[in-house]
Amino acid sequence: MNSNFPEGGLKIRPENRAVVASSKSWRGSPTGDRVTLTLGVCALATAALTTWLGLFVTPPDQVQGQLVRLIYVHPAVATMCYAGFVLCALASLAYLWPRTRSRRWDRLAVAAAEVGVVFCVLTLVTGSIWGRPTWGVWWTWDPRLTLTALLCAVFIGYLALRRTGGDPDALAKRSAVVAVICVVLVPIDHEATTWWASLHQTSTLFRANPLIHGEQLYTMLLSFVAFGLGFAWLVMHRYRLEVLEDRFGEEGYGLAIKERRAEGGRRVGTQPVSHQGEIAT
């Protein structure tokens, strides 16, 4: 049973393996294909190039010294966090709009939110690591920091709501409403450094006259490409996992009955019998 399903890689729950193994469209990784493979390789390559440029080629900062190298990680990670939440809200809006309502948008919303939360936690962690040597503290109640923590908390709440189960359509609608309301925090968080007196610096890149130039600028832009590709890779895999979960919900019960019957057949020394037609439940 499930002999063609590789061990390692993406972890699938034992009860879902029957669905995964029964699929003929995926070979090897249950959620991967050529597009994600290419995307993953490109993400790794650009990340490696960013690391090399960021650590060995670009010069240290006059004021911050070696610490400035975090600029090749932290802003890109934070942008991907925003991208995840905005994508989740847009997909939720598309789901709520009756003309475009489709399970696809709901799957995209949950995939983007989950990846967004991962990047949000990474933003808080990398920011904290940067804050300790520059500000002297791991955490301070600055508007930007507080709002980012709040953003993380509201989307953790969103993910908790998604795990409550029940009718998928009702859950999708409730979650979509929450996502659309919560995303209001994203522009407030982004503008926090200009609206309030903040310890956090204002935008380095997204302004008429960027504050960095030359190889530092190119490395920073490359970091956005690297994390952007990584973000897209993660969202695609997570989306397909959601497709598998849906398929498990639809077919899993029938397959489970089929497997049990096959086991029963083996136990008494007879060949498993085909139970086609009994799967439809």
């Binding site: 908390a153 709440g157 709501l161 409730r174 309301i181």
Partner: protein, 224 residues
């Protein structure tokens, strides 16, 4: 819409008046929270009067969760939610009615807690206009956000544990803004804090959530 709101609001308040849950459980709980803060800060009056504004709003926030849960519980029992849906009332009216009922209860609660902080923490009320306006704005915000999220969590098996997780981070701006406004009004804020500016944050939050609830409630009421 407003007629429906008045009907639903009056119905909720009538149930509360008859069941006495708000007066016999929620209000004593809120006062108990204040007393516990007193224990936690070791009856240090200087410190308590300094942080009284924050403690007051934390107590309001925690008690508002109980009020919201109570407001949702009366709809989920005995298939009342289906009855509400079949009644043909405007969903926006239902939202506004339930929000108004929670607001009325929170006003009474804030009055009790206000007396509590004056008596227990020894503070002086200096700017009544600012205090009153912040109470109104924060109450509208808390009630609207609470009603909206209460409806989102209603009918779920895990609603009791999910609701605080959903609501508390969302209403954090109310806690922040209302506390700063109160500190400005009580004279315990740091120099340069403009209470009215913070009040506008709380007011903005209230407007956003009333608008969001009015628009989104039809989706939530009709969904299942």
């Amino acid at each position: 819409m407003w007629r429906d709101a008045a009907l639903v609001g009056a119905k909720d308040l009538r149930i509360e008046y008859r069941s006495r849950v708000a007066t016999t459980q929620v209000a004593p709980y809120a006062v108990l929270v204040l007393v516990l803060f007193g224990f936690a800060f070791d009856q240090n009056h200087t410190l308590l009067s300094k942080v009284a504004a924050g403690l007051f709003w934390v107590a309001v926030l925690l008690s508002s969760l109980l009020t919201v849960q109570r407001s949702c519980a009366i709809e989920s029992a005995d298939g009342a939610r289906d009855a509400l849906r079949l009644s043909g009332l405007d969903p926006a009216g239902i939202f506004l009615g339930k929000t108004l009922a929670i607001m009325a209860q929170l006003f009474v609660l804030e009055l009790v807690l206000g007396i509590g902080v004056v008596v227990l923490f020894g503070i002086e009320l200096r700017d009544p206009a600012l205090l009153f306006c912040s109470c109104v704005a924060a109450t509208v915000g808390l009630a609207a956000a609470g009603t909206l999220y209460g409806m989102i969590a209603s009918g779920l098996k895990v609603r009791e544990t999910l609701l605080p997780l959903l609501v508390l981070p969302v209403v954090a701006p109310v806690l922040l803004g209302a506390t700063q406004t109160w500190m400005a009004a009580l004279g315990t804020a740091s120099a340069g804090t403009d209470g009215w500016k913070w009040l506008s944050l709380v007011g903005g939050f209230a407007v956003i959530y009333v608008a969001a609830g009015t628009l989104a409630f039809s989706i939530l009421v009709e969904e299942s």
